[in-house]
């Protein structure tokens, strides 16, 4: 019986893995740079901008990602925000990116604020220019500060990818459900549980390596 289960599960899981890793990767690639920009806007001296961004962060962190997925895909025709209806894939990416950008932005905001103001002043006196100062002096120090928190969110993200089920999309967890129902067996869930553990182990190792890279100084 297990052989039959595995025979069906493995190809379905590999297929589902595309969605799991795809959502994970695209969200990270877009969210992290975007969140640095959002964090800077949040710190902006312009009160209007700072408050608007603050609102956005509050809404995205204050509602479940599941709800956001549903709202972005199903909500458009009730709340005429845009006349355009998102496809399932678009809704998934928009929801994940908007949601995780908010979380990362708060992390980066904390990290930026914790860099000593003396670093900015030394850069100013050395005429390094605002953008060069941010990229070469401030950001590297921020990254060292925030790596552990970023790592946490990354691990959470890989698990959050299973939420795409609400829009009917298939990831590895849905593959488990399909096989489980087809064979009236529970073991597919156990196998997929292992898959998540393996992915998390790999991610944790990579994150650890990155953190170590920044530990060459104190």
């Amino acid at each position: 019986m297990e052989a039959k289960v595995l025979k069906m599960l493995i190809p379905m899981a590999l297929d589902g893995l595309k969605a799991t890793i795809g959502v994970f990767a695209l969200t990270l690639i877009v969210s992290i740079p975007l969140s640095i920009a959002v964090a800077k806007l949040r710190i902006s001296k312009n009160k209007i901008i700072s408050n608007i961004i603050g609102m956005y962060i509050y809404v995205m962190r204050g509602t479940p990602l599941l709800l956001q997925l549903m709202f972005i895909f199903f909500g458009y025709y009730r709340v005429p925000v845009i006349g355009y209806a998102f496809s399932r894939e678009q809704a998934i990416f928009i929801a994940f990116i908007l949601n995780y950008t908010a979380y990362f932005a708060e992390i980066f905001r904390g990290g930026i604020n914790s860099v000593d103001v003396g670093q900015y002043e030394a850069s100013q006196v050395l005429e390094l220019g605002k953008s060069h100062t941010f990229m070469r002096i401030i950001l590297p120090q921020v990254i060292k500060n925030v790596m552990p928190s970023i790592g946490n969110e990354v691990i959470t993200l890989i698990k959050d990818t299973s939420l795409i089920y609400i829009l009917g999309a298939g990831d590895i967890l849905k593959a488990a459900k399909s096989v489980s129902n087809a064979y009236a067996a529970f073991s597919p869930y156990i196998y997929i549980g292992f898959v998540y553990l393996v992915i998390t182990a790999v991610l944790t190792k990579i994150l650890g390596k990155i953190e170590n890279k920044y530990n060459y100084y104190r």
Binding site: D116, G118, Q124, V125, L126, E127, I137, P140, Q141, K144
Partner: protein, 227 residues
């Protein structure tokens, strides 16, 4: 006169920090600005080095106007000119503010490399000469957290000198040091002055003032008396 300050005033809101300050500094002079804490010495220094904007008055460095009075408003130099003028006056911070994620050599190379005015080879050679003169040979690859207080200060001095300033300012240079390193910093400052760099030291360490000052400016209640 390498630096000339005329009728400089600065307030934070209703709080008048100093007003109508005038003085000048010549090449190779060592000038100490002293006064009790909170008298505005550091703010004056920050105005000279561009970290703060003054409200009124003018600052002239090497015959270039950093700022001047025009139609009873203060007007600052702009863009490229501003950057060029501000490079003429350097600052060694009280807490040094070295870049912790860069080693000593990288700290030194960062600004001149970015400003791109010389070849990389030339910049590097100058850095090596400076490090040698400041007795930091062998420390090129060390990181700030691995250095002693005195060593960090010397790196901060070297870093400021990499831009060839005509004026070098020090904010409370002796506050973090012990006796022995104080003697060392005296020697270094005198050495720099002998190369023609004008030195402005803000300090409330009267013993140090007595030891090193050629001229003394005292700040009190927002005004100065020049010795």
């Amino acid at each position: 006169m390498v630096l000339s300050v005329e009728n400089l005033s600065k307030s934070f809101g209703k709080n008048k920090v100093f007003s109508d300050i005038s003085f000048s500094v010549n090449r190779g002079e060592i000038v100490c600005i002293r006064g009790k804490s909170g008298e505005g010495k550091t703010t004056l220094l920050r105005c000279l080095t561009g970290l703060e904007d003054a409200d009124k008055g003018s600052i002239i460095i090497n015959d270039m106007f950093l700022c001047k009075e025009e139609n009873s408003h203060i007007k600052y130099a702009q863009k490229a000119e501003l950057v060029a003028i501000r490079q003429e006056i350097g600052l060694v911070f009280q807490s040094f503010n070295l870049f912790p994620h860069m080693n000593v050599m990288e700290n030194l190379l960062e600004a001149p490399t970015f400003l791109k005015k010389e070849a990389a080879e030339t910049i590097r050679k100058r850095a090596e000469v400076l490090l040698k003169r400041l007795e930091l040979e062998g420390k090129e690859d060390s990181y700030p957290f691995q250095l002693s207080g005195g060593q960090k200060q010397r790196v901060a001095i070297a870093r400021a000198c990499m831009l060839n300033p005509s004026v070098l300012c020090f904010d409370e240079p002796t506050s973090a040091l012990d006796e022995q390193t104080r003697a060392q910093i005296s020697k270094i400052i005198r050495d720099l002055a002998s190369q023609g760099i004008a030195i402005i030291i803000v300090t409330h360490d009267n013993a140090f003032v007595d030891e090193i000052a050629q001229r003394i400016i005292t700040m009190k209640d927002g005004f100065i008396t020049v010795d």
